[in-house]
């Protein structure tokens, strides 16, 4: 197990961030996969439009402050002859989704085990857990689609009624408010299944390949310290979106239109913000799983036990005597262990 996960008294938010810091290379691999996904259609598109633009004066209306009418005209010309680029766009997005099963599993594996986040490790573990992650995603869809579908229908009905009474700003706020509720539920579901995915890896490391066993325990874990965990999870997502939005705004107003290189850098920073937040969320989900009673055999072994805190029968007979890195933790840390978390 990753020694960092032994800090059960640490906040899951902080642990998630530290996991990410410890495994920065994971961000690199995910980013490279995402970059490759973007690069291929971009090069194909460049090949398609460079013949039209590179020797034309009209292209200057695109190179400078973007003239939307010229852009639309170009799209009209390219759409008629270049559906291949659009097909490639969709295909690669789909490909990235499929590859995300490997990446996500690899990330959880590295977080859980503390192995070096090399590409080989991510790849190997990702492939090993691939079908289990596909199955857990199917579970997620099975639960999310009806839930969110019903909410969306309810929202539409509500908005239809609200439309008869509320107009302008007030309707906008109702619309956004109801959207926020749907989004909060969607994030809740994502949170649940992030925990479930981390749980799948934990089970897997114990030799249990049954995916369905992760869903209910993940649900129970979800409700432990739910408020602080969920707010933290949401906070990470919002932080990612804020970063994404900031760089988009800066791209729009702060980058001279002809500086394509700088625009590229700013755009990539925006993308990295989202990736960073997502991996952080996975780190947090891992921290939650490994701080839970279910992981006592792994966690408790790392701690010196203070008898006054209550029953400590969870210490196994084969408790390793060689203290891990965390053995140097001051007793105060041990004192802050929540007895309730050891009760099971």
């Amino acid at each position: 197990m990753n020694p960092m996960l032994a800090h059960r008294n640490h906040s899951t938010l902080g642990t998630g961030l530290r996991l990410l810091q410890q495994n920065k290379r994971l961000l690199l691999w995910v980013y490279l996969a995402n970059l490759l996904t973007g690069l291929l259609p971009a090069l194909a598109y460049h090949r398609q439009v460079s013949g039209i633009l590179d020797h034309s004066f009209a292209a200057q209306r695109i190179a400078g402050r973007l003239d939307l009418s010229y852009l639309i005209e170009l799209l009209q010309h390219t759409t008629k002859n270049g559906m291949g680029v659009y097909a490639l766009f969709s295909l690669l997005a789909l490909g990235y989704c499929v590859f995300s099963f490997i990446l996500a599993a690899g990330i959880y594996y590295v977080f859980a085990t503390g192995e070096r986040p090399t590409l080989a490790v991510v790849e190997r573990s990702g492939i090993e857990y691939f079908w289990r992650f596909v199955r857990i995603t199917l579970f997620a869809l099975l639960i999310s689609l009806p839930t969110l579908g019903i909410l969306a229908v309810l929202r539409n009905v509500l908005l239809k009624h609200a439309d008869n009474v509320y107009v302008g700003r007030s309707f906008f706020f109702i619309s956004m408010g109801t959207f926020a509720i749907v989004a909060i539920v969607a994030v809740f579901l994502r949170f649940w299944f992030d925990i479930a995915e981390a749980y799948v890896v934990q089970l897997g490391e114990n030799g249990d390949r049954r995916v369905r066993r992760s869903v209910i325990p993940a649900w129970r874990l979800l409700w432990e310290r739910f408020f602080s965990n969920y707010v933290s999870y949401l906070f990470i997502g919002i932080l990612g979106w804020l970063g994404f939005s900031f760089f988009l705004w800066f791209w729009a107003v702060g980058v001279p239109p002809r500086l394509v290189g700088l625009a590229w850098v700013v755009g990539q920073l925006a993308i990295v913000c989202l990736l960073f937040a997502r991996i952080w969320q996975r780190g947090m989900a891992t921290a939650i799983v490994y701080s839970a009673p279910a992981s006592e055999p792994f966690v408790a072994a790392s701690y010196p036990v203070v008898p006054t805190l209550g029953p400590t029968s969870v210490i196994p007979e084969d408790h390793p005597q060689d203290a891990p890195q965390d053995a140097a933790e001051p007793p105060a840390a041990a004192n802050s262990i929540d007895p309730a978390s050891q009760a099971g």
Binding site: A42, H46, H55, L66, P257
Partner: protein, 652 residues
């Protein structure tokens, strides 16, 4: 001091002149000496009671029709436009089949969108009750279920020069907003709400059915309208308000009067805020009366500003605005009432969040609808048969006014990072469906709703702008002014318009252009096929320091079937440039130059006036490659793909 007989004489003169001026005083226009501005064929007097809860209206109407046709008339057709909002109507069928530009129609017809107008009684002085003589007709498609045109046959004809007075009692049911009509929440738009007689034009009645793409056509006259509404309602209407009476039952009766107009519309809402201003037209003061919804209170000044500035430009460029009041209605959000023109009343449209950097929203709409006061309101062309004369010319002048007010390149979108000009958006509209229909096609006979929009609005604006590059901007402006002044308060045709351009420009060679652009569907597309330089003694090897002479060959290619004179500008490395003029008739042409300089670029239409050209990107060839634009777009593409992929991967 004046003597008694003199005083008597002066008083007599004053009395006579006062009586004379009273007789001539115009109520709703600033007409010189109060004389009628139009040939007033019709005089409507309507007394209507609006039920704002049921969204219905009950009214009596008196129509005086003056037979100025020079022939006896024994048949009178009436438009009953509200009947279009039924599933059986031609309007609904066409909208469902081909798409309309003012409404959408799925598979089912929502019951709340059903509207209608019912005439319960009609009579005429000297003819008695004619109710039984009413019969629906369908002159355009024979759909007898359409019910948007009704006609009555009189037992004896109305002689030339005589006036016939009809009396009608009718009931309206307004639909949930559709095609610029009906209600949304407690907002009610009364457009095309009363039985309106057709136009006897070119020797026959012209009274078309209401179609998915058509608008309106009517005779000039006067409208004396009383509208009774609940006290809490505020009403904006065509003409001017001349009275208000409080009733005992919590209602009020508003009295409006309009003259030298050919239609009358009103809008009622309890949520209007009134914003008034005065515009000094060259014919006198005009009250700008904006009724803006409370939800858009922040937009009042933007509405008034664009209205006033547009009126200033029209007054300066095309001619005076003669009416005493111009009413602007801010329609209910989420309704289908945005952007519609009626005489001296327009609906615009906005939302509370629309930024100033998007003039294509509020400003373009308000400008466009006001422009119709000239091209439809006063120059009252037949919108059924020649829609390009109102929507098209208006789109052209809209682009001119917007460019003058908001900048040539920023008149539609003006963000720091992206722009668009109103004129170019018109051209893009044209390019979306460029070759199915000619501009001159009857509005309901277009291939589709999109083709109608692309050609009628977009192509006409593009064709006239291209024509402007031929005859010159001042000449074009002069021609439009002449057209307006000559044909205001009449019903001119496309031929009248084109002849005016020929007369004013003195260009008798424009017919070929009109044939291809106006009556035809040809596509204009010229391209620089190649531009290259090589040593004159090409067979000899040359060093890198070779200074010349160079032989430059520039080839142009006509890719479309539209033939148009072409100007090409060739630039050389020594800074010199050459302009060539080609009649554009052959499929291609080649120019050869021998100079001590290499070609840098060749550009067709270097003054960028030929907007009809379908492809801007092949109009030039720059020898030195510049990949900024292509890489910029590739970067966009890449970013969108990356972001989209991440969103999609959220399921994992």
């Amino acid at each position: 001091m004046l003597q008694k007989p003199a005083i008597f004489f002066v008083l007599l003169v004053i009395a006579c002149s006062a009586r004379g001026s009273n007789a001539q005083t115009s109520i709703a226009t600033n007409a010189p000496e109060g004389k009628p501005l139009s040939t007033r064929v019709v005089a409507y007097t309507i007394d209507a009671n609006l039920n704002t809860d049921k969204k219905t209206l009950d009214a009596t109407e008196t129509l005086e029709y003056k037979n100025l046709t020079g022939q006896p008339l024994d048949t009178f057709p009436f438009h009953l436009y509200l009947n279009a909002f039924r599933p059986q109507s031609t309007f609904s069928y066409e909208t469902h089949l081909e798409g309309g530009i003012r409404a959408g129609m799925g598979d089912g017809y929502p019951p709340e969108k059903i509207g209608g107008i019912t005439i319960s009684q009609i009579s005429a002085d000297g003819y008695g009750d004619l109710t039984q003589a009413m019969q629906f007709t369908a002159p355009d498609d024979g759909n007898m279920q359409d019910h948007t045109v009704m006609q009555i046959h009189l037992p004896k004809p109305v002689a030339p020069g005589e006036t016939v007075r009809f009396h009608l009692t009718f009931h309206d049911k307004f639909p949930l907003s559709i095609a610029r009509n009906g209600y949304k929440r407690d907002f009610i738009m009364g457009g095309q709400w009363f039985p309106k007689v057709g136009v006897f034009w070119h020797g026959a009645w012209n009274c078309h059915q209401y179609h998915a793409t058509t608008e309106f056509f009517a005779d000039f006259g006067t409208f004396d309208v009383k509208l009774t509404v609940p006290n809490r309602y505020i009403v904006g209407a065509s003409g001017v308000q001349i009275g208000e009476q409080q009733n005992a039952n919590g209602t009020k009766t508003l009295h409006f009067y309009g003259e030298d107009i050919h239609d009358f519309a009103w809008a009622a809402s309890p949520h209007f805020l009134v914003a008034d201003e005065t515009f000094q037209s060259s014919m006198g003061p005009v009250k700008l009366h904006a009724l803006v919804l409370t939800y858009h209170a922040n937009m009042r000044q933007r509405y008034l500003s664009i209205l006033k500035r547009t009126m200033q430009k029209f007054d300066e460029w095309y001619g005076p605005f003669p009416y005493k009041q111009m009413t602007l209605i801010d329609p209910e959000p989420g309704s289908e009432m945005y952007g519609m023109e009626y005489p001296t009343l327009i609906t615009a449209g906005t939302d509370w969040w629309v930024p100033k950097a998007l003039p294509i929203g509020l400003e373009v709409t308000a400008e466009h609808e006001f422009g119709h006061q000239y091209w439809y309101g006063m120059v009252a062309t037949n919108e059924f048969e020649e829609a390009w004369l109102d929507e098209g010319i208006n789109s052209y002048t809209e682009a001119k006014v917007m460019a003058a007010l908001y900048g040539k390149d920023t008149s539609a979108v003006a963000f720091p990072f992206a722009t668009a000009s109103d004129l170019e958006t018109q051209r893009i509209g044209y390019l979306s469906d460029p070759d199915y229909d000619p501009m001159t096609r009857f509005a309901w006979k277009f291939y589709s709703g999109n083709s109608y929009g692309a050609i009628t609005y977009g192509k006409t604006a593009t064709v006239l702008t291209t024509l402007e590059s031929v005859v010159g901007e001042p000449t074009m402006q002069k021609a439009l002014r002449a057209y307006f002044l000559k044909y205001r308060f009449t019903h001119p045709t496309g031929t009248d318009f084109l002849n005016t351009i020929v007369e004013v420009s003195g260009r008798t060679d424009l017919q070929t252009y009109f044939d291809q652009a106006v009556s035809g569907t040809r596509i204009l597309d010229y391209a620089v096929a190649s531009a290259d330089s090589e040593p004159v003694d090409w067979w000899k090897s040359t060093s890198r320091n070779y200074k010349g002479p160079w032989r430059t060959v520039v080839a142009l290619h006509r890719r479309g079937d539209f033939i148009f004179p072409v100007t090409v500008e060739v630039k050389f490395s020594d800074g010199s440039k050459v302009r060539e003029n080609w009649d554009g008739a052959d499929r291609w042409i080649r120019y050869t130059y021998v100079k001590n300089a290499k070609v840098v670029s060749a550009e067709i239409d270097p003054d960028h006036g030929v907007l009809l050209d379908k492809n801007y990107f092949n109009n030039s060839y720059v020898v030195k490659k510049n990949g900024t634009a292509s890489w910029k777009l590739a970067n966009y593409w890449m970013f969108v793909e990356q972001a989209f992929s991440q969103f999609a991967a959220w399921i994992v």
